[in-house]
């Protein structure tokens, strides 16, 4: 069973069709790269998956569970919407770290809030509470080590370089162990010299139980890290395939034209 199934997703802003029937499946542990020109709908697709936008039509199914269905008459309450959201994580182009919290607190905040709500629902002893909070804290430290920011644990976001901020944001997105972790052009806001450290972290995250979708303009990264690549153009998936299929054997004219463009025009 695929971890993620997207069926016939449509999204319109005002009068512009941004997504015109996107369907794909993703197996657990796979890395999917989405490439395409600006305005092709890549970011909107990620935002629909993360419920920052509501698709007009289509279905989203995670591990067999339908988390979005435009045909369903059922209106989700906030609790359900939240549960559905937690299947996905999103790393933003502009990091969006919380400036008033240390790096460590940025990572633990959401998990702590979830935990504290649980306490309200069922009584917990102080002992249990302490254990739960220290587990959250330890998990954050583990994630910080994973993204190589252990020494920045108590720094504030403004004290970090762009690359460090993005790595912290990745650790934050991982803290709630989403089924599918999405990256929205994670290196586009970075100086060229800083993209490497972030891409390396993403590459190292690849493991059998972590599924990732990366919207990117870094063709080398897509080629080397992604198991599969989707080329989007004008709101539809033009080509889907592995690196060899996309970069060497494609007969799709739009894709070939896109790949020939110099990077700054992408």
């Amino acid at each position: 069973m695929p971890i993620l199934e997207v069926k016939n997703l449509y999204k319109k802003f005002e009068k512009v069709d941004v997504l015109k029937g996107i369907s794909f499946t993703l197996e657990k542990g796979q890395v999917l790269a989405i490439i395409g020109s600006s305005g092709s709908g890549k970011t909107t697709l990620l935002r629909c998956l993360n419920f920052l936008e509501t698709a007009d039509k289509g279905q989203i199914i995670v591990a067999g569970k339908t988390v979005f269905d435009s045909d369903s008459q059922k209106v989700l309450n906030e609790q359900e919407l939240r549960q559905n959201r937690l299947h996905f994580g999103l790393v933003f182009q502009s990091f969006n770290l919380f400036p008033q919290y240390s790096v460590h607190k940025n990572i633990t905040l959401a998990a702590e809030l979830l935990e504290k709500e649980r306490w309200k629902e069922n009584k917990c002893s102080n002992e249990e509470k302490k254990t739960a909070l220290s587990a959250i804290s330890e998990n954050a430290d583990k994630l910080l080590a994973q993204v190589g920011l252990t020494d920045k644990r108590d720094s504030y976001p403004f004290e970090l370089s762009g690359g460090q901020q993005q790595r912290a944001a990745i650790a934050r997105a991982l803290a709630l162990s989403p089924d599918v972790l999405c990256f929205d052009e994670p290196t586009s806001a970075l100086d060229p010299g800083l993209t490497g450290e972030v891409l390396k972290v993403i590459k190292n995250l690849k493991s059998s139980d972590r599924t990732m979708i990366v919207v990117t303009h870094e063709m080398e990264f897509a080629k080397n890290v992604a198991d599969e690549i989707i080329f989007m153009s004008d709101g539809i998936i033009e080509v889907r395939g592995d690196a060899a299929h996309i970069f060497e054997n494609s007969t799709n004219e739009k894709l070939n034209a896109f790949l020939l463009k110099p990077p700054e025009e992408m």
């Binding site: 920052l52 906030e78 933003f92 969006n96 400036p99 008033q100 934050r172």
Partner: protein, 215 residues
């Protein structure tokens, strides 16, 4: 009248000034936030209603509002609704809530959308996002305009004398009228200066405390 006697009598008026100042802050600070939520509501009728009220409050003199709160109920219902001081407090709280609400709104709207979205994708509820992510950033941004408004409040308290509430200015005027000495009216300037000086120091301290982060 000796300097000491004048000072004591003025201090009596100053107590009322402090009371108006304190009560207005205590109620208008949170009440302003409620108005902000109204004027930012996605429910259009509520938004328009709130914005109309804010327009009326900001569009008319506070002095007039004090008069309306004090005399209005008597004219309409034939009964006096509030004692003088209460009428002043009601008018001040309404007026300052409206001004504060606009400062809050400016602060909230200046926070990048990405901060709200980051909270959302981490599964936070709206109130959690507001209180744990947005609020402190808003406070940091609005300290200077709030400082301005609160110092204005110090001096606006003198409007209470329009319905014969003896605050600092009226206390001085009473002395001037009764004793035929003019200097007490100049002397009260020192009270206001001292008061706003202390407030300026407090705002400076708050700003400094919030300097530990940027954004």
């Amino acid at each position: 009248m000796s300097f000491m006697e004048v000072t004591l009598q003025l201090l009596d008026g100053f107590k009322t000034t402090l009371l108006i100042f304190g009560v207005t802050l205590v109620f208008a600070l949170p009440f302003g936030l409620v108005i902000t939520f109204g004027s930012m509501s996605k429910f259009t009728p509520l938004r328009w209603l709130t914005r109309t009220i804010v327009w009326i409050i900001r569009g008319t003199p506070l002095m007039l509002q004090i008069i309306v709160v004090f005399f209005g109920p008597g004219l309409i219902l034939g009964m006096q609704a509030f004692p003088r001081l209460t009428a002043v407090l009601v008018a001040f709280v309404i007026n300052y809530s409206a001004y504060f609400s606009e400062i809050y709104r400016g602060g909230i709207e200046s926070i990048p959308q990405g901060q709200f979205e980051a909270g959302q994708v981490l599964g936070m509820k709206k109130p959690q996002i507001f209180f744990h992510v947005i609020l402190l950033q808003v406070i940091k941004r609005i300290v200077p305009p709030m400082g301005n408004e609160i110092i204005t409040l110090v001096k606006d308290t003198s409007l209470a004398r329009v319905i014969a509430v003896t605050e600092l200015v009226k206390a001085a005027q009473d002395i001037v009228g009764l004793k035929a000495i003019i200097w007490p009216i100049f002397y009260i300037g020192a009270f206001y200066l001292l008061f706003s000086g202390i407030l300026t120091l407090i705002f400076g301290y708050v700003e400094k405390r919030l300097n530990y982060f940027r954004g």
